[in-house]
């Protein structure tokens, strides 16, 4: 059942580092995080790795396995040939702190720039009524576990550090879309999504959707509809004219 797994783990810090070879015994049903924990417990006590729930629910243990952004706790060893060497490196789009741990503060800064939910007043009995079909759109986006794999893989920032200033990334387009589609939210977030969050820079290559461990259709269900809403407001001449002459106050009409 058990076998010796060959691993190459990146070790180092902001000043540089290298891939180091490890050999560790693993057994049936284990995931990559199990193997890393065993290396940590028996061979490298100071090996830095982030993790929490080990059940794919918290999004802490994001890293790149053989170059692909994945959760360490949801990647099963059985997906690899036993003779294959598994290489684990830190998320490339964020600065390294130590070993497999990166500085993901970019994401927390972008979260702070987002205007909060602002609901209309509740019904007379103090409760709120929404239909299941209406909340389901937002619920898909709220499955997001903030693993930031989509942020890591998005080439707008992965290969262009300078874009980070003007670009919030797929995780936050998801949040803009969620709030814009919320049945009770009163803010209009389209201008913000365009100007501050830079949704226009996204050219819908769908890399984010591919790596999402929650299977959220980031591109199709959030980014594209959000882009359409932005375009609707910003560039549709009829909408523009309506707004100018004051005939059309409800410009939240969907396409």
């Amino acid at each position: 059942m058990g076998y010796e797994l060959a691993m190459r783990l990146w070790r180092g810090d902001a000043d540089g580092g290298e891939l180091r070879d490890f050999s560790v015994e693993v057994s049936e049903g284990e995931v990559v995080l199990d193997a890393i924990h065993r290396v940590q417990a028996t061979q490298a006590g100071d090996l830095a790795v982030r993790w929490n729930c080990k059940a794919g629910k918290c999004g802490s243990c994001s890293a790149e396995i053989n170059g692909r952004p994945r959760l360490l706790c949801m990647t099963r060893l059985a997906d690899f040939d036993q003779a294959e060497t598994i290489t684990v490196t830190p998320l490339r789009a964020f600065p390294v702190i130590r070993d497999l741990v990166t500085d993901v503060s970019y994401n927390y800064e972008k979260a702070r720039e987002l205007p909060a939910f602002a609901p209309a007043p509740p019904d007379a009995d103090g409760k709120r009524r929404m239909m299941q079909v209406d909340v389901e759109r937002g619920q898909e986006f709220r499955k997001c576990i903030e693993c930031f794999l989509c942020q890591d893989t998005c080439h707008v920032v992965r290969d262009h550090e300078e874009n980070k200033q003007a670009f919030a990334g797929p995780r936050f387009f998801l949040r803009y879309a969620e709030l814009d589609m919320h049945p009770l939210d009163t803010n209009d977030r389209r201008a913000l999504a365009h100007d501050a969050a830079g949704i226009g820079l996204c050219n819908i290559t769908k890399c984010c959707t591919e790596v999402c461990p929650e299977g959220i259709q980031i591109t199709d269900n959030a980014i594209i509809p959000m882009k359409e809403r932005v375009v609707d407001k910003k560039f549709d001449p009829l909408v523009w004219l309506g707004a100018k002459i004051g005939r059309r106050t409800d410009d939240r009409t969907e396409l």
Partner: protein, 608 residues
Amino acid sequence: MADTSTDAETVQYDVVVVGAGGAGLRAAIAAHDAGARTAIVCKSLLGKAHTVMAEGGIAAAMGNLWPDDGWQVHFRDTMRGGKMLNHWRMAQLHAQEAPDRVLELEEWGALFDRLDNGLISQRDFGGHRYARLAHVGDRTGLEMIRTLQQRAVALGIDVFMECTVTDLLIDETAGERRIAGAFGYWRESGRFLVFEAPSVVLATGGIGKSYEVTSNSWEYTGDGHSLALRAGASLVNMEFVQFHPTGMVWPPSVKGILVTESVRGDGGVLRNCEGKRFMFDYIPEYFKAETADSEDEADRWYDDKANNRRPPELLPRDEVARAINSEIKAGRGSPHGGVFLDIASRRDAEFIKRRLPSMYHQFKELADVDITTEAMEIGPTCHYVMGGVEVEPDSGASLVPGLYAAGEVAGGMHGSNRLGGNSLSDLLVFGRRAGERSAEHAQKAEQGRPQVQQAAVQAAAEQALAPFAIEGGGENPYALQQELQASMQELVGIIRTDEELVLAREKLTELEDRATRLVVHGDRRYNPGWHLALDLANMLLVSECIAVAARARTESRGGHTREDFPGTDESWGDVNLIVTMGDDGHVVLRRQPLPQMPDDLRELFEGK
């Protein structure tokens, strides 16, 4: 060679909240709203706390589905679930305020599942008379933590992420011990940090990482329990540890991961290897009157609660966990040492995927099991500690002025056993209360703020650096933790005996001694070996509390089962066990009478 500088940066706040799960975030929001300069300190990144793993829902008697539900019914269910050992006042406040706290989450952007009339949906859970858990599929904890996190961010509350508090700082100069702040380190750099604050709210969660099979994450090392004890506060009900009936058992890598009670709430049943629905054989006298005694009645209950009684699969968790344990011991278990949890044969695939999406995902991805076509294998897993800091119910105040506790780290609310769904509501109700009252305390302390003693800071820093000073031949923290987990699992687990509890004390004493020689490699920057070495001290202290209290309570009740005292003993029915710290650094145990419930509440239990 690690940097041995004891230098520490200093920051000043009115209220420092330790922990960023549901209770910590809710406390911080309340303190901020009350005008306090507030900081949140957490060991992980924001939004990763253990609350994120809560699945089933938030218990609140909103009456959206069953108009007869109300706080009195919820209160009664909670007290009976805890075998009447709960602090009545906490259970009352909890039942009364939970509905408002849920509606408040909606105000801040939470998107709960809906009923056909547009109101928040409510689901069935063990021990609850009516369907009353507000939920989002089976990922309610994620919804709750994200909502609170986004609210806290919108309010601009300062968050110290990946920062561990190792000591509370006390000012004794005014003639009494009162909180002056907290001492901690940044995990990233290993540098020290002093929080000067007249109020500290502990919201650190539980202790599950001291057990081998647990649903808890690495953070659950009993930090708050230990900090409170060392600061002079008391702990109550530490003998009561909840083993959730349904954790995954296979493959070994996922052993202990939670399988939500919603599976049973939504119609799932437990079967042994003979295919028998065995829970009918384990209905205790205490719950006989309200539990179905035939499969037909149990199955009718889901749609008609007025004329049928609850299925035995939805007895409180302690009862179900013990029953599963007995079936496994009797040789009627599943191939990998659990029993079967079957929803596949009872609900259609579409229903299962819609109501239990993360369970479907979890079993598919981690165990190659399709829960819409096959039964799951499950077994008990350490899930929750009912015991915690003894607090004044209305405020969450501990015995130490300025020190508050809320959520799992606080004790009393759940008595000897917590009902499912009552944890998330507990976090919100008492998080808010502790936040408000800690802000009030800070306000009052404005004249004559407590002073941090430099000597205490120096001592805390030296203590934290001690593992680096051990040269060669010491103990490996990872190996020591594994030994502790194995010992607690075997000797202080779901079924206990006097003999084993004596052995547990001996083993803990040995481990405590060896823990003084922990050796860590590398330097102070993001060094998990060092972090574990520091957490271990808390795990050992809290484990001792559990073992001591468990040995003293010579009866079985809720989350404390003694093989040598199998029955519930009425003479223990009005006794709380209180743990404090003696001068020698070991725990001291005493009995304390249970607070008396007023007559108007007592009437709720008569003739039922």
